[in-house]
């Protein structure tokens, strides 16, 4: 079994990969709803699906804020220090 062929196969069937991931996401949220909960240290631990939302929102905010900050303030040409 060649690694390249496997990766190539997955790339050619992106829809399959996407569907599998969507299924997995749905499955984790369903699992989270019916999971026994105890010893919560944080209010989010008690809300089903909280960490999904947290992950998505944080990821989007991180990209948006940092790319914005980079384009306005931080980003310089590569020879800036020379």
């Amino acid at each position: 079994m060649n690694w390249v062929n496997l990766i190539q196969y997955l790339r050619d069937n992106m829809n399959l990969l996407k569907r599998a991931l969507y299924l997995l996401m749905a499955a984790t949220i369903i699992f989270d709803i019916f999971m026994p909960r105890h010893a919560a240290h944080f209010f989010g631990d008690k809300i089903p699906g909280f960490w999904s939302l947290f992950g998505l929102v944080c990821c989007v905010l991180l990209i948006r804020i940092m790319k914005g900050l980079s384009h306005t303030v931080l980003m310089k040409k590569e020879d800036y220090y020379e």
Binding site: I29, L53, L56, L62, M75
Partner: protein, 588 residues
């Protein structure tokens, strides 16, 4: 039982033999040295060895307890893996530098007093600088000097702290510092340690220097400097709240910069800051669970971060670039490197079954159980950013994305073996965490902790999956750009360059203007004063002396003319004088 052989001895003495060996024999020798050191760590018993009284100082070279053992364990293991990765390097000096570097960090780990800590601390700083310089690029030379200067600065903070601490307490023993007893001296020591741990804002040396190091040198560097610093913080400063806060800030800071960086090894460097932040936070929280977590995470982190640097280094070596905007589509040519890299990527992100999952979660749980919910949520936010940059962005743009047209080969076999072995260890720790937990300093807390619980699994999988969703939604926004981003090194790169310009323009021009003024006005004034004195000397002093001489000559000349030898003239002159004397006598 007294079977302690200091593992640093193997490396520091062993380094001297490297230039004498060639080819295959040297390669075998290079592997034997860390293997022996690893064996010596395994066969060690706890206790205090190598205690010397020198000039009234109590020097302890070998303090062996559970805290020093876990770090020595992973350091010698990592040295072995790093040597495999660098086995193809023929330059003896590179191996010598890495051996001294490893020896220095092991010296710190087993040191029981501040003096020994300081000496090995400096050995590490100097040896690692050579791992940057040996890349032999102009940028590496400059980065190496900046790295060295920053570490010397940190060393001075440490030394100053040690002196004050000695003055206050009269002891050099390196023990846990009670939080109430910490004064200025102890905080100086803390800042010296914090610089090596890349604690914000003393962190900028790390993403500045590591991307400029040699491919194999960076693998060593990413493991030892920061984790030695984590060890000394865990040894001396458990439960310092400032560390809990700064550590959490580091985790966020690192992932923020990694999101916008372009260079692969710089992205990974920012993630060292972020991951070391977890450990610093664990030490700062200071409970048994959190300190255990810091040690476990240091162990796991050394392995997966080295694996990531090995993967990125392989791409750099085979393609000649580590910039994401110049890479893409490498999966066809370097699939094994990709697979090993991805193992590192999902280990650092904390996927279940991989090492980050069983180590990082200990610190997060430690924050939760010590009632720091804000720190806990921020640490989870940082793990979102970790997966985003290291697990998704970097491999996507290097191995997939648009095809860059490069057709590199896989790296040499020894590099693949090193990556394969390290990847296996990351997986092994993930599925059999007991192997790691048995090494932890607080055995009871370690036995009570179970990472594979339903809430933890659910939380982690949700975070990771939905981070992935966010990544693919905003894929276009993340397109790598051939730019650099400002960080705190700006202060000592631009500000000092600005100061140098100011210096050249104003201070130096004042200096040279002053010189000119002195040359024009001062010198002329002095010359005329000197001229006056010369004149005075010639005509005043010399005049008096010379004229006295001239006068004597003149009188002598006249007196000579009086002596004519004529007796009549003598008689007449004598009588004349008698007349004059009698006359004067008579008149008076």
């Amino acid at each position: 039982m007294n079977n302690f052989i200091h593992p640093a001895l193997f490396f520091i003495l062993g380094a001297f033999l490297i230039p004498a060996l060639r080819g295959r024999i040297r390669q075998i020798y290079l592997l034997i040295v860390p293997a022996l050191a690893f064996y010596s760590v395994l066969s060690m018993n706890t206790g205090v060895y190598g205690e010397i009284n020198y000039l009234g100082f109590n020097i302890i070279m070998g303090r062996v307890d559970s805290l020093s053992l876990i770090f020595a364990h992973v350091f010698t293991l990592m040295a072995f893996l790093g040597v495999i990765y660098g086995l193809h390097v023929t330059e003896a000096e590179q191996h010598i530098a890495s051996f001294f570097y490893v020896g220095g960090s092991l010296g710190v780990i087993f040191a029981g007093d501040y003096l020994t800590v300081f000496i090995f601390w400096e050995v590490m700083a100097f040896a690692s600088t050579f791992l940057i310089w040996f890349r032999r690029e102009p940028a590496s030379l400059k980065a190496g000097f900046r790295y060295l200067l920053m570490h010397i600065f940190g060393g001075i903070l440490l030394l100053a702290g040690i002196f004050l601490h000695y003055k206050n307490t009269g002891s050099l023993a390196f023990e846990l510092i009670p939080k109430a007893g910490a004064g200025f001296a102890e905080y100086l020591i803390l800042s010296g340690f914090a610089l090596n741990a890349a604690v914000f804002p003393l962190h900028a040396w790390l993403p500045d220097a590591y991307p400029e190091a040699t491919v194999t040198g960076a693998v060593f560097m990413c493991a030892f400097t920061t984790k030695t610093a984590v060890y000394v913080l865990a040894r001396g400063f458990q439960g310092f709240e400032v560390l809990a806060i700064m550590g959490t800030a580091m985790t966020i800071y690192g992932v923020c910069y990694a999101t916008i960086e372009n260079d692969m090894r710089r992205i990974l460097s920012y993630h060292i800051i972020s991951q070391v932040g977890y450990m610093v936070a664990g030490v700062g929280i200071g409970t048994a669970l959190a300190v255990n977590g810091a040690c476990a995470h240091a162990y796991a982190h050394i392995l997966y971060k080295a694996l990531l640097f090995m993967g990125a280094g392989s791409v750099l070596m085979m393609t000649g670039t580590s910039k994401l905007n110049e890479l893409g589509g490498l999966y066809k040519y370097m699939p094994l490197t990709l697979i090993f890299y991805v193992v590192g990527g999902i280990s650092i992100s904390g996927f279940p079954l991989f090492s980050g999952f069983v180590s990082k979660s200990m610190i997060v749980a430690g924050a939760g159980e010590a009632h720091h919910p804000v720190l806990m949520v921020l640490l989870l936010l940082a793990s979102v950013g970790t997966f985003l940059s290291v697990g998704l962005k970097l491999p996507y743009f290097a191995w997939f994305g648009k095809d860059c047209g490069l057709k590199p080969k896989e790296p040499p076999a020894n590099m693949l073996w090193a990556m394969g072995l390290t990847a296996f260890l990351c997986f092994f720790i993930g599925v059999y965490p007991k192997a790691l937990y048995d090494l932890l300093p607080f055995k009871e807390a370690a036995a009570e902790y179970h990472p594979y619980s339903a809430p933890h699994l659910s939380e982690t999988v949700q975070l990771l999956l939905f981070t992935g969703l966010g990544f693919f939604l905003l894929l276009k926004r993340l397109q790598p750009e051939a730019k650099i981003n400002l960080d705190f090194d700006w202060f000592y790169r631009k500000l000092i360059a600005g100061f140098m310009r100011f210096d050249q323009k104003y201070i130096q021009s004042f200096d040279s203007g002053w010189g000119e003024l002195y040359r024009k006005a001062g010198l002329r004034a002095m010359m005329s004063i000197a001229g006056f004195f010369a004149w005075f000397d010639r005509w005043g002093i010399d005049g008096v002396v010379d004229n006295a001489a001239y006068g004597t000559i003149w009188i002598g000349d006249k007196a000579r003319k009086v002596q004519t030898g004529n007796l009549q003239n003598y008689l007449a002159f004598a009588i004349l004088i008698i007349f004059v004397i009698v006359g004067i006598n008579w008149f008076l």
